[in-house]
């Protein structure tokens, strides 16, 4: 068993502290939005997790390309780690969005372009793990996974731009406005502090979980190799 590197231990602690500060800023420091009330505060974690998840899916597509070029299983392990952490973060994004939508739109779910593309993205990556489970040969599994993650990676920018390209009721908070949006708001200075800190905190938490997941993948690989050696 390899001991945990000191840098990773420091990152573990930093992630917990940053997440705690981000929660404080979102729940206490940021002012209450007048129209929606306290439920607007889920926005900070909603965007924080969405940003890191979409970034992770795009990173996974980049790792796929590198794997297909170099044929080194190390890149496959990086790809799996990025997708798994992103899948968890994107699940949180969708659940938080649904909880916000209930008082804001008077429904838990609607087949709006943003919500639909987000659900499709999540399902694409759930299917990715199902695909991998069905293949025993590590090289074949990595090759299929890489091609799948590369094509699936297209869903991340589509989800991001859905509210800018299609007619939707989802608000555009960053980089534009949507006149048809329901539940949009403009951020005050304190809200911006909480918002940008949440983006930073979730980026650090993502890196921490990603690193831990890579170590797990390396260990899985070692155990698989040892199993093969013992069975021969």
């Amino acid at each position: 068993m390899q001991p945990k590197p000191v840098a990773l231990k420091v990152l573990d602690v930093a992630s917990i502290i940053l997440l705690a500060i981000s929660t404080y800023l979102a729940l206490v420091f940021a002012p209450t939005e007048l129209v929606m009330g306290d439920v607007q505060r889920v926005f900070y974690f909603h965007i924080g997790t969405a940003w890191t998840a979409l970034l992770g899916f795009i990173l996974a597509a980049v790792f796929s390309v590198v794997y297909l070029v170099r044929k080194d299983l190390k890149w496959d392990r990086l790809q799996v780690a990025a997708i798994e952490v992103s899948l968890v973060f994107f699940l949180i994004t969708i659940v938080l969005g649904s909880i916000w939508a209930r008082p804001a739109w008077n429904t838990w779910w609607t087949w709006d372009p943003r919500l639909t593309t987000a659900a499709v993205t999540e399902l694409i990556y759930v299917a990715y793990f199902m695909l991998r489970q069905g293949i025993d040969d590590p090289d074949r599994r990595a090759r299929f996974g890489a091609v799948y993650a590369l094509i699936g990676g297209l869903s991340a920018p589509i989800t991001f731009f859905a509210i800018r390209l299609f007619r939707t009721i989802h608000p555009v908070v960053i980089g534009g406005t949507n006149p048809e949006a329901d539940g949009g708001f403009s951020m005050t200075a304190d809200m911006r502090v909480a918002f940008f800190f949440a983006l930073f905190a979730f980026t650090v938490v993502f890196i921490d979980l990603f690193w831990n997941r890579i170590r797990l993948g390396d260990l899985q690989d070692k155990v698989e190799q040892l199993k093969l050696k013992v069975s021969m």
């Binding site: 068993m1 209450t32 659940v95 008082p103 797990l216």
Partner: protein
């Protein structure tokens, strides 16, 4: 909701949202921890299985110590040869 005069009380949704976010993250961290622990156990077991039943000696085998009785026997053997030469 948007035609009201006072801010609505939606704190229940906020609490639910944050609770779910933390529970999902905690479950994921726990899953990473448990999977790592199980793999380490597997690794230890497989390493035990991988060890050969009769370990191969890498260092040279220890030299047998000369017992006094044996050295005496050698001496007598030497004397025998000396005596036979004298004959």
């Amino acid at each position: 909701m948007f035609f009201q005069e006072t801010t609505p009380d939606t704190s229940g949704y906020m609490i639910a949202g944050y609770a779910i976010a933390f529970i999902v993250m905690a479950l994921y961290v726990a899953s990473i921890y448990l999977r790592t622990r199980n793999l380490n156990q597997d690794m230890t077991m497989l390493e035990e299985m991988d060890k050969p039943a009769h370990p191969v000696q890498t260092s040279p085998p220890p030299q047998p110590r000369k017992s006094p009785a044996k050295s005496g026997a050698n001496k007598s053997a030497k004397t025998v040869t000396k005596k036979s030469r004298q004959k």
